[in-house]
């Protein structure tokens, strides 16, 4: 007989091995009814594996799973849904070309006919304050709206346990606050929530209990309200945190990167148009661009690398030369360097060796090629230098880049650019999905580069990161970029508002507002 003291879900000694990795090693977890339970850990700590076991996507090698006190097996996601386990995925499990209603129907086992389903969607949307139009095609929706589909799909199953994997990473602070209201309401109704996030401030504010995993093992449980974000972070990584160090430098250097009035139409229906972007990055400073992903970050990045050309040359200048119509190689010739967001298949070729990947962005640099032929010794030497300087853990530079872990590959990619000491470095999400050790060393490398009088532009969704490393921050929303302001000049709330399209509170006088941005 389930009672209020019977756990909703209990995991005992769950073990799951993948080739070469023990992803979960005898993990225990207990979630009570109506409890918001945080699952904490670094990338690779085993959170995702554990969640996939609970939702039936993966199967444990050994261990017991108890649902409301009864031992169960969950062979597939359908069985999980039948028990009352709802799942909101980190990488949305949505179908872009289908409608909202079709997407929801696909995730339900008994959806009834389309019209009743649409009515139920709207009813659920009103009840929890998650407005959604059932007939819209998913690719026309914003990231926040897409997440609502996932949540409503899960809620329509009347779940007893709702699993949310990094739900706020794509939300503005305000949107996240709305989500928390919904989650608290659900918890009051008795729904258990397993909440995975690396934003420790959120967890402290929202969760009743936290379970901490490290290296696939259960470390401890705690009450987040009684901990500080710093203490929880130290439990996660198992050592003392050393935040990146920086000394205040003089940022009055020359404008190495000047973007002036950059506008570009959306490339496809899935794309975002860029609207009159102005920004100057000077030697010696790090400028951060904040914003929820999908607001033009990848479009801006493509224009900066030269993968997409600007409508006119003068829209982008590097060291005073108009490069808007020049391709990536010409921009690299001016000692600019770039780190795109996607490591696999964009910044690096996973099937090629580290030596070949070193050549990828260095082929125009001195000595790497000779009369059209590759100087293998040179790229081998360079790959080795990068690996040594950035402490990349690898099995040998003649092995494929795909064998590196995410953090190590990112260190390699960043190192490959920084070892050339570029005068300008543009990095998009440089620490995304990277463990905190690697993230700290990457951030330190960016800071060190800027202190050598290079200009550094970092596009990131991680506000904490930008606040730590940037001298100035601008916010990108719907293809428009706000004024860049010194980091100390505003609060997280200011940035959050700007991320939803509000102009940042202006305190520098009317002259700054005289740009085309306000004329839509």
């Amino acid at each position: 007989m389930p009672t209020e003291t019977t756990p909703r879900l209990e995991l005992r000694s769950i073990t799951k091995a993948f080739p070469g990795v023990l992803a979960n090693d005898q993990v225990d977890l207990t979630v009570m009814p109506g409890e918001i339970h945080a699952l904490l850990g670094e990338n690779g700590a085993g959170k995702s594996t554990l969640v996939k076991i609970i939702s039936g996507v993966l199967h444990a090698d050994s261990g017991d799973l108890l649902w409301q006190g009864e031992p169960v097996t969950i062979p597939n996601p359908k069985a999980a849904r039948a028990l009352g386990i709802g799942m909101v995925f980190q990488h949305f499990s949505l179908f872009e070309a289908l409608t909202v209603a079709e997407n929801i129907e696909l995730g339900m086992d008994h959806s009834g006919n389309r019209r009743t389903l649409e009515a139920r969607i709207e009813e659920m949307a009103t009840k929890y304050g998650l407005p959604l139009e059932p007939r819209r095609h998913v690719h026309t929706l914003s990231v926040g709206e897409k997440q609502r589909i996932e949540i409503i799909r899960a809620l329509l199953l009347n779940p007893k346990l709702l699993i949310m994997d990094e739900p706020t990473s794509v939300l503005t602070p305000q949107e996240a606050e709305t989500l928390f209201k919904t989650l608290r309401q659900l918890a009051r109704e008795g729904v258990s929530i397993l909440f995975i996030s690396h934003k420790l401030g959120e967890i402290k504010a929202l969760c009743h209990t936290a379970t901490i995993l490290r290296g696939g093992r259960f470390i401890t449980s705690c009450n987040p309200a009684e901990e500080s974000p710093k203490s929880m972070a130290e439990m996660m990584i198992g050592e003392r945190l050393t935040p990146p160090e920086r000394s205040d430098t003089d940022h009055s250097g020359v404008g190495r990167l000047v973007i002036s009035n950059l506008s570009a139409p959306a490339e496809s229906q899935f794309g975002v148009k860029l609207d009159a972007i102005d920004l100057t990055v000077r030697g010696g400073e790090i400028v951060g661009i904040a914003g929820v992903s999908g607001n033009g970050q990848s479009e801006l990045m493509a224009h900066l690398t030269g993968e997409r050309l600007a409508p006119s040359a003068s829209m982008i200048s590097i060291d005073g030369v108009a490069v808007g119509r020049k391709g990536p190689s010409d921009r690299r010739d001016m000692t600019a360097a770039f780190v795109p967001e996607e490591r696999m298949g964009h910044a690096a070729v996973p099937d090629m060796t580290l030596v070949d990947n070193a050549l990828l962005t260095s082929h125009r640099r001195n000595g790497f090629t000779l009369r059209g032929f590759i100087n293998r010794l040179k790229s081998e030497g360079y790959a080795q230098i990068v690996c040594d300087a950035f402490r990349v853990k690898h099995r040998g530079i003649r092995h494929a880049a795909g064998h590196l872990s995410g953090g190590n590959l990112q260190k390699f990619v960043i190192g490959r650019e920084i070892e050339h000491t570029p005068s300008l470095l543009v990095a998009n999400q440089p620490t995304w999905g990277v463990d905190s050790g690697a993230a700290a060393s990457i951030q330190q490398a960016l800071i060190d580069l800027a202190q050598g009088d290079s200009a550094v532009l970092v596009i990131s969704q991680d506000l904490d990161e930008l606040l730590t490393i940037s001298d100035r921050i601008a916010v990108l929303h719907d293809g428009r970029l706000s004024q860049a302001r010194p980091t100390g000049d505003f609060t997280i709330e200011d940035i959050g508002l700007a991320m939803t399209g509000h102009e940042m509170a202006d305190n520098t006088g009317p002259s700054e507002q005289n740009n085309t941005r306000s004329a839509t």
Partner: protein
Amino acid sequence: MISVDIVVLTIVSIIGATTPLLIAATGELVTEKSGVLNLGVEGMMLMGAVSGVGATIATDSWILGLLCAAAVGMAFSLLFGFLTLTLMANQVASGLALTIFGAGLSAVIGAPLVGKRVHRIPDLEIAGLTDLPIIGPIFFGHDPLVYFSLISLAAVSWFLFRTRAGLALRAVGESHDSAHAIGYRVIRIRYAAVAFGGMMAGLGGAYLSLAATSLWAEGMTAGRGWIALALIVFAAWRPLRLLLGAYLFGIFWIGQLAVQGLGLPIATEFMGALPYLVTIIVLVIISRDSTKFLLDAPACIGKAFHPTA
């Protein structure tokens, strides 16, 4: 000078030229909607054509001939499915292999059948209707596969866009990772779609050897399998446009024969090349707008799926 009879005859032959393309393309449409690109249509059609003739001669029944062609086409597509879905081989290379292998195998097993005639699949005679002037031969005098081609296209259209199973199939073609995450059996659904495509290609091939002609000849599909693939691009993966495209193509195919028949002073070889040139032109017109093209195509087409951790 052109009599009504000739017009009627031309329309009837257009329908005959269109039907094998339409049957094969309908099958491939389902395969591609599930995210699998099977370039082996030509090979499967050849196997269907030869096994249809073989089985009809052996059993003296065109129904068994068609069933055999469908089964052989399906078996061939499952071979492709095993390579690409289970063993995750490159779909383009495997499809080419299927075509090369099908051409070779059909030539080997068809060698003893060359020169043998079978009875054509009889036309359906509908009392009172078939005898109507003009309308009769155009609408009511065809072999059963002509009606089958239209019904199956309508059924596929209904299945894909009106049923839940069809929604699941399209979902798998759009994002196999998402479909897997919410619990759909991606590989199983794709096997079913590939098998259906193979069955239809086999039938399309058998139409050529049992209905359009009544014999087996080596390489008799003459690139129709490839044209069926091009038709799907032309149709932007939509059933109604597939129907239009197939009939447009049938008109060109018959047009070349008609020009030859009328003895116009145009080299027969030029007219013979025309269907292929038209295909190229159509491809160019359709593919020109690359963003639209990307939006129409199933997002996962040609990509291997391995359920990762």
